[in-house]
Amino acid sequence: MKKKLLATLLCAALTVSMLTGCGGGNAGGEDDPAPAQEQSQPETDEETPADTAQDATGDEEEVELYMFISGPEYADAINELLAEYKNVKPNVTVNYETTQNDYPTMLKAKLNAGECPDIFASTAGKEIETYKEYSYDLTGQPVQEALLPAIQASMADASGNGCYAFHYVGDQYGMIFNQDCLDAAGVTSLPKTLDELEECCEKLQAAGIQPFACGWAEWWVFKQSLIPFLTESVDNYATFVSDMESGADSLNNYEMMKDDMFRFVDIVKANCESKPLESDLASMQAQLATGKAAMGLGMGPWAEGSLLAINPDMNINYGGYPVGDDPAQCHIAVGATQALRVNKDSEHLQEVLDFINWWFTSDFGREWLSVTVGGVPSIDTNGVYTNKMVQISMENVAENGAGNVGTTYSSDAFWQSFGESFQSYVEGSASKEDTIAKIEKDWKEIDGAQ
């Protein structure tokens, strides 16, 4: 009998420990070790909030907000922002977590586990509709009014209503140059046509400098460097994309897509490192910053910090992609791709809104958005920029006009496949015709079917 009792007890103990194990797993989800999890430090109350309804006092209930967003390159700036908010509202702690790899997959896992972060991210444009069920409509909030009108528009749902997201830094697509390399090779102006690009490469080669660091191991480099060949070809890019998704249009109808885009890839391939498909972002940035290569692809002002971290004296220059014969079509593309959302079912919805409104309307927040974060500002800053590339681009845009960012009309799943198709082309396992056919098929199957 004793033995039986022991057996039963042991069995019960096992089951219970296992159940608590499971329960603990769920509750502890937020504490999962992530690539870069940072928490703002509590500090003393010094300032009163500029725009929040209540005053912050120490007696208020402790509130923890969970912010899980992509873009680790802005982690330092965001930690600065959160540290300041801790001064403004000592009872609110924002747990900030960010990751570069596979953000959407991790977010989906959290959503399906019933742990929607209070603030989470997606891309603007097409994806606004995808996460609409979870997103709070920010219409009428001070944050919405602070955003530039063009950005507000890209945060609307498929029928053009509402403002389901905000963002703190805009996106740009352009080509980064190491000006010292260009000077050493005697290149006097940035190339604006493909002929000029070829000429520029010849001069660099003659001077013993590798013209390109391509970064082609990353699929998104293709997306962000080849999109101008698509957007500059057509007048209405939105219509073009929906025609591609339904199969009504073809890349073969546009010279810039069927010839110039491939010519550009060929020029880069002939003038870059010996193993282009093993070149990733880190290696591209290292080559560019140290002057081993003169031109880098697929990056924008967000890369400036990393480049200067490698070489603080790097002489950066920045321009549009040469897309054909007409220099007037060489634009830096400017727009909104990042979209941060507020969980509409958040337990502390009001606290979240207070935080964001403070972020976008307080003096500290506005200073942060225009200076600290060092990207393309999402609010009207009266022409103050600290980032050198943003400054160059603003002058460039004032002179030549801006290109359309365009990438948000399609899903990242499509762009990943787009990048992979071009990897096969670069590798030589797919011809130009195969590549075009594959891209057209993907556009129909991946985005057209959604």
Binding site: L111, S274, K275, L277, A413, S424, E427, S429
Partner: protein, 295 residues
């Protein structure tokens, strides 16, 4: 209380935790997967829409990616099984001899196996790119300058090589255990009968190793069919889609393309294929084993 009844009760009680755990982490998600494969769901929306067998139809009608990745998985499996077993057996034969430092060498072979696949992947990614580049500068050996991860054909061999390198230790251990169980008197008898080393190995040792071999072949089969992490860390399926395995294609469909339904359908189809292959291999091996016993 009868003794039988008591024993029965005990075995039921002791298995409950395990059964519960297996249900929660395996059978229930599996059934849910079957349900999701019959729905249109992006993995984000709160309510999946039931669409019947539509996902399976799409799978057959347009998913060339799935067929290619199945092809890759099969090629990977065949090469992995051959290399892992032949090399492991060869090393095991060498390491089952007694000499100084044998245990150190054995553990050296085993260390990669206890490292995480992802870490192994990143280490080899570094070796293939920077490591090989540095060696090439010193030695000028042409193969060090090849783009081991950047060209589709070489990337396949790189992935297989790293996979075999990582798990070799595990199979070596199994083979060494088998070799040590080979009775010495049989080997001595063979020597007396005039058999040379070569003959002794193929006529005596190898047939007696059959149980170890069956385990190793079966383990290498299932492990290579499931290959995922090492590819993700080494090539992310690239260049292009040259190294997408079936499991990676399922992952891409469900999580990157937001087609959870189609992804689940692919997973179910893959499950059926794996089930058929493993059953077939198991049957063949059982027959072999029985034939061996009857001889």
């Amino acid at each position: 209380m009868g003794r039988k009844r008591k024993e029965y009760l005990e075995s039921v009680l002791f298995t409950i935790p395990a059964v519960f755990l297996v249900c929660v982490v395996f059978y229930i998600p599996f059934l849910m997967g079957i349900y999701y494969s019959l729905t249109k769901w992006n993995g984000i929306a709160k309510e999946p829409v039931f669409i019947g067998l539509e996902n399976y139809k799409t799978l057959i009608s347009q998913s060339s990616g799935f067929i290619t990745s199945l092809g890759f998985t099969i090629r990977y499996t065949i090469l992995f099984m051959i290399l892992a077993n032949v090399l492991a057996l060869a090393v095991a034969v060498a390491l089952s001899k007694k000499f100084r430092g044998v245990s150190v060498i054995r553990s050296m072979f085993f260390i990669p196996y206890i490292m995480s696949m992802t870490i192994v992947g990143f280490i080899w990614k570094f070796i293939f790119s920077q490591g090989f580049a540095a060696l090439y500068e010193k030695t000028s050996l042409e193969f060090l300058n090849w783009s081991w991860l950047g060209s589709g054909k070489l990337a396949f061999y790189s992935v297989v090589f790293v996979g075999v390198w990582q798990s070799l230790g595990f199979y070596i251990v199994l083979y060494i255990a088998g070799l040590q169980a080979v009775p010495t008197d049989v080997l001595e008898a063979a020597t007396i009968d005039g058999a040379g080393n070569f003959k002794k190995f193929f006529m005596v040792t190898l047939p007696l190793l059959k149980p170890s071999m069956i385990t190793c072949i079966f383990m290498s089969l299932t492990n290579s069919l499931k290959v995922f992490d090492i590819i993700l860390a080494l090539t992310k399926g690239g260049p292009g889609d040259a190294t997408y395995s079936a499991t990676m294609d399922i992952y891409r469909e469900a999580f990157q393309r937001n087609n959870y339904g189609t992804g689940s359908a692919k997973a179910i189809v893959f499950f059926v294929i794996v089930l058929m292959i493993t059953q077939l291999v198991m049957k063949l091996m059982n027959r072999e084993e029985k034939a061996g016993v009857n001889k």
